[in-house]
Amino acid sequence: MNFEITDEQRMLRESTERLVRDHYTFQKRSSFFATPVPVLKDEWAPIGSLGLPGLLIPEAYGGMGLGFDAALPVLEAFGNGVVIESFLATAVLGAGLLAAAGSEAQCRAVLPAVAAGQARVAAAHSEAHGRYWLNSVAASAKPAKDGFVLAGKKVLVLGGNEAEHFLVAARTSGKDDDEAGISLFLLERGMPGLTVIPYRHLDLSGGADLVMNDVHVCGDALVGPVGSGLPLLQWAVDRATAAICAEALGSLEMLIGLTIEHLRTRRAFGQHLGGFQVLQHRAVDMVVAVEQARSMVLLASRYADDPADAARTQAISGAKVQMSKAARLVGKHAMQIFGAMAITEECPVGYFHKRLTVADHLFGDREYHVRRYAEASGY
């Protein structure tokens, strides 16, 4: 049994923490919130300069070739800051999916640039009515000479606002909700017929909708075998789910820290807020929720790289459920304890509450993962 981190993990954590301190703290990015219209300046370069985008990319493609365990402290540290850059979308989800499913030529064409911080790759798996179900794919890929023609719309492409490459799930056969018949394609920004509609999420991280209006691609844009994209997609999204839990853990720690500091220093009715027993117990409830979520993140991270099976699903869905519970409890209590202050853009509490709310609804909410957990547990 070993929960200790290795020296390599420690070094990675420390350098990431330094990175966040230097570039991505709420205070450093407070200019976002100082003007009526937030001016968002993406800063991908510092992340790239540390080689972090290549954390999980095999060494053969210029990455570090580490396991998910190594990503854990990086994600946690990013969750402590205002990292609106699409690290998780690129380094965990996009690159992870391509490395697992792509041909050597495809990997070689994209991953080295990603690892070097010069390109980003996003996965387009959601559609407008499918909610969290990855088999809800109506976008079509029809055979054409030398390749395929893609048509349809993908939504909520995490990191799609700034990605150069897109891994798109489209249907090569079957009906809208069939599990079989889903194929993956590697598309490039700027292709004729492909429109990228970028936007920001509630926490200022970026996303996009993709409109594919008869996008012609060559046969070598197909990623993995025809019609069997779903299991690969599910595996990659599961790993991204573990990753968003790790990021959320960092945000929870930040909220706990801010709240306890506030309770220790803020005075009301002639005493410190922290002297009121109901607020003491509430702070304890927050800490307990976060520690239980941390336990599940640790469990999920042990399974994140494994092939898909029931135990893996239980660990990852269980972590997402526990994280959802913690995120709501901690978010609400922190807002309540800070009072009116928390309802301003100037206060980091509201920002992290928003960040956790976004995380809560990424890659499946509590109800979705409870359902998956029950199925995996065999009832």
Partner: protein, 398 residues
Amino acid sequence: MTPYLSVDDRQFAEMISAWVAEALPDEIRRKVFAREVLSREEYFVWPHILREKGWSMPSWPKEYGGPGWTLMQQHLFSVITTVAGAPYIESMPEKLVGPLLIGAGSEAQKRFYLPRILNFEDSWCQGCSEPNAGSDLTSLTTRADLVGDEWVINGTKIWTSNAHHSRWMLCLLRTDQSQKGSRGLSQIIIPMDSPGISVRPIRSVVGEHHFNQVFLDDVRVPYENVVGKPGDAWQDTRRLLANERFNFARLGQSKWHLTRLKGLAASEMDGRQPIIQDPVFRARIAEAEIAIDALEMTTLRLLESESRNREVGSAPNIVKLQGAEVEQQILELIVDVVGPYGTPFDGVARVQGEDPGEAARRAGMLVADYIEDRKFSIAGGSSEMQKNMMARHQLELK
């Protein structure tokens, strides 16, 4: 809840329902439902419709231009118009300034201010909270010193809604420095264009501008701008506002959110079926609806006690506590129903009018209301304070 209404009240409710269905412009209703922000011009459309009908100040007595309604009628009017999709009207002039002037103001004050309020001629803001007095209003430090026949005012007010487009501030401050706590406080009307006032906007967590911090630096106003006897403000305010407590239920708002929730749950798809057919969501929605039923009945019980001048006990606290909880419960459910499609939220696009993508358009501002939903358990006496009060005064625990 009609089984508990008298015949007269039922008829009143039907009359209001029919009227609002006619009178409320469709475009306003649509924007409110979509949670779009109204322009200043649009904002005044509904108030002026009400003014023409003579219903602009539902709680005022007839002699001051109000409809002279009973508490029950006021309640029904508020719930019915809100559920019909009428926009929120800044209530502070009606609910705070009006009653305070009617109860404690001078004749000159009444003659000057009340008709202006009735006609929505000026906007008002309320100078109440201060940076170092969160829930504890008796520790206010903004002061007014009488110099000749003028008050010289210094201090800072915070969370001042609408200060940036208000003509008057009703400001709670200390006029008697020898007193502490709730004694020695006064309400003074301050013109917002007075020299020495500066307003710093405070943007909300979802990027909206309602709140401000107001700095008062040697601001001078005439002695007669004080409302009532100097030093008695706390007592006056408490006494006059006793009847307004049941409004904290925010019953109309919660019912209206419920309508939106059920609409969304019926249209949002979870793969093959609408969310409302998912047994888990279905149960959560039904639980919320039952919680509203209970809140409505408790509010009616409070209204009955008030109208019979009976002891209301802890009912106002209960209504305030449950009102906040129910509204928060429903806002959370809306976010969960919208689910992943609530994640996008393009502040830039919303402000600049750019196209934020389909998903962002769908989600609109729904999640924003959830993010801010603690305000219901913070403002107007936090839930913690309500519980402290109930424990001490009703349950006699110490």
